[in-house]
């Protein structure tokens, strides 16, 4: 018997349910396969991402965690030869369906990358970038969005006096929070984070984690992390990815409440991975 994050017991969730449940889940990935040219990178991916929860993807390097994340806001479209089979539902609508508005999708589901990648612009212009793209011109309105986003990203106090300075001058941890603020400025519903702390020191990492705990009250969060402890500390649900043999596609071995994954995993491979016995 599994329990969900509130401790209420729920029936063990099968990895593949034919019909995604709408309402409870913001994102439902169904039977997703991903190809890069002839290479099958992912197979049979099924994940449900619950609203206002943190869902973590863990697993050894190269097992396709980031690819799944990038297929949620169709950033894989940019990779030549990348092809997706299966479905990804965002609030019940298949984002790979015909005529789906990718720009709208990316606005609703923002992305934060492994290395902080602020634009070589001022702090202000970085945060205002998204709103400007979507046609906000009014100075007062931009000022407000910038301030609100920086406050929510827990960066305002550190930068409020120097918004016109280059974002490049910030520390790595500040840059990453700036990137989060930049995503928040377009008012997304979900935030995807691809190993957001990989390039940060432990204190900066902890600050990002605290921030995400705060943000999940308002946003739905999916995070890819190499750091198992981070997934354990942070997430409500965890999906464990693995590649069986060299050249095989990545698959999800186990997906469930983080409590279960880190205290009594069902799959032996999960247990061996999280206890450091392989990988």
């Amino acid at each position: 018997m599994q329990t969900d994050v509130e401790g209420k017991s729920v029936a063990a969730r099968p990895l593949a349910t034919p019909e995604p449940q709408h309402g409870r889940y913001m994102i439902s990935i169904r039977d997703l396969d991903l190809f890069y040219g002839d290479f099958k990178a992912l197979e049979d991916i099924n994940v449900d991402v619950e609203h206002n929860r943190i869902t973590a993807f863990i697993g050894p390097s190269g097992c396709g965690k980031s690819s799944v994340l990038r297929s949620i806001n169709r950033l894989n479209d940019l990779v030549k030869g990348a092809r997706v089979e299966g479905q990804v539902f965002l609030d019940g609508e298949d984002i790979y369906g015909h005529g789906y508005d990718v720009v709208e999708l990316r606005k609703r589901v923002g992305m934060v990358f492994q290395r902080p990648n602020p634009f070589p612009k001022s702090i202000y212009d970085n945060v205002a970038y998204g709103p400007r793209i979507f046609g906000v011109r009014d100075r007062a309105e931009l000022d407000q969005v910038v301030e609100e986003s920086l406050v929510r990203a827990a960066l305002w106090d550190e930068v409020k006096g120097k918004l016109k300075q280059s974002a490049i001058a910030l520390s790595g941890g500040q840059q990453q929070r700036l990137c989060i603020a930049r995503v928040l400025a377009v008012e997304p519903e979900g935030i995807l984070l691809d190993e957001p702390c990989a390039a940060l020191d432990p204190i900066a990492t902890q600050r990002i984690e605290d921030l995400l705990q705060e943000l999940k009250k308002t946003y739905t969060i999916v995070i890819v992390t190499h750091n198992m402890q981070q997934a354990a500390r942070l997430s409500d649900y965890t999906a464990f990815f693995m590649i069986e043999n060299q050249g095989d596609p990545g698959r999800i071995v186990e997906f469930g409440p983080t409590n279960t994954i880190f205290t009594t995993p069902e799959d032996e491979r999960t247990e061996r991975y999280i206890t450091g016995r392989f990988g």
Partner: protein
């Protein structure tokens, strides 16, 4: 004994050899760098020593050229060179950068783009005198422009286009993919991403290419031999009027001119050219730097 680590004799010897090799390499590399610097310094030094006195003569720098008598000035040449440079840059930058954007952002990797790139690289190695002949045949004769500012500018544009395109393309390619991802991830379209993120980030690289081009335009003579007058007493008054640029005139003065002070004029022109190139370089760099600072590109 304290502090004495036992090091085997052979290892100690190897360590010493490595240290010596390191010192030798450092000295040699330093020497080579000094040689380069010395060659450069002596050329510029020679030109300036010979020419500075001439350049600082107001009658020379602001005077009117003389075809036969001594005491001619070079102001029209200077102005022609500046006009020529500006006109060429105005023609070349939009086309070159535009083509570079297409190549770097849209074309992708295909047989055709490889061909274009190969063609551009090959063109860049074609001797400029060949471009001069081409300009003569096309602009001067076929289009009936005659030798004039526009004919010279178009010829120089053709000559430098491949290099501008290639350096701009490299500058665009050097913009981290993470900027593009960030922008697209925020919902920006491809064109918005290019216009607002990629292009501004590539400006320093494109500027560097532009500065090199300016130097080449100012210093170019062979391509202008047939497309612009080699000597003129007036600066061009319109796009299609004649006018002689400094570099080809320098060549003309030394080989064809019959003025008694041809040697002196050539020395003055050489120094003026060096100074002009240096000055335009500095201005371009200053503008680029200010742009970067305004954009918040530097921390």
């Amino acid at each position: 004994m304290m502090g004495e680590m036992h090091v085997p004799a052979r290892s100690r010897a190897r360590k010493t050899t490595a240290k010596t090799a390191d010192t030798v390499a450092t000295v040699v590399l330093w020497a080579l760098a000094l040689v380069c610097l010395a060659v450069l310094g002596s050329i510029i030094g020679y030109i300036l020593v010979k020419g500075l006195a001439v350049v600082f003569d107001p009658k020379f720098i602001l005077g009117k050229p003389q075809a036969i008598n001594a005491g001619g000035g070079i102001l029209p040449f200077l102005l022609s060179s500046i006009y020529l440079t500006l006109l060429t840059m105005v023609i070349i930058m939009p086309i070159g950068v535009g083509a570079a954007i297409y190549m770097a952002e849209f074309a992708g990797e295909s047989r055709i783009t490889r061909l274009v790139r190969f063609g551009a690289d090959s063109l860049a190695t074609v001797p400029s005198i060949v471009f001069g002949l081409f300009g003569l045949a096309l602009f001067v004769v076929a289009f009936g422009m005659g030798p004039c500012l526009m004919a010279g500018a178009l010829t120089l544009a053709l000559l430098n286009l491949p290099a501008v395109m290639r350096t701009s393309e490299e500058a665009l390619r050097a913009v981290p993919a993470s900027y593009r991802e960030a922008s697209l991830g925020l919902g920006a379209s491809r064109w918005q991403t290019i216009r607002k993120v990629v292009l501004p980030s590539a400006v320093p690289g494109i500027t560097t290419g532009g500065i090199l081009t300016i130097g080449r335009i100012l210093g170019e003579s062979a391509a202008l031999v047939f497309t612009m007058p080699l000597f003129a007493t007036k600066a061009p008054t319109s796009l299609f009027s004649g006018g002689a640029a400094i570099a080809p005139n320098l060549w003309y003065t030394l080989t064809e001119a019959i003025t008694p002070d041809a040697q002196r004029i050539a020395q003055g022109e050489a120094a003026a050219l060096v100074i002009l190139i240096l000055a335009l370089n500095l201005v371009a760099r200053f503008l680029a730097h200010r742009y970067q600072a305004r954009q918040g590109m530097v921390g």
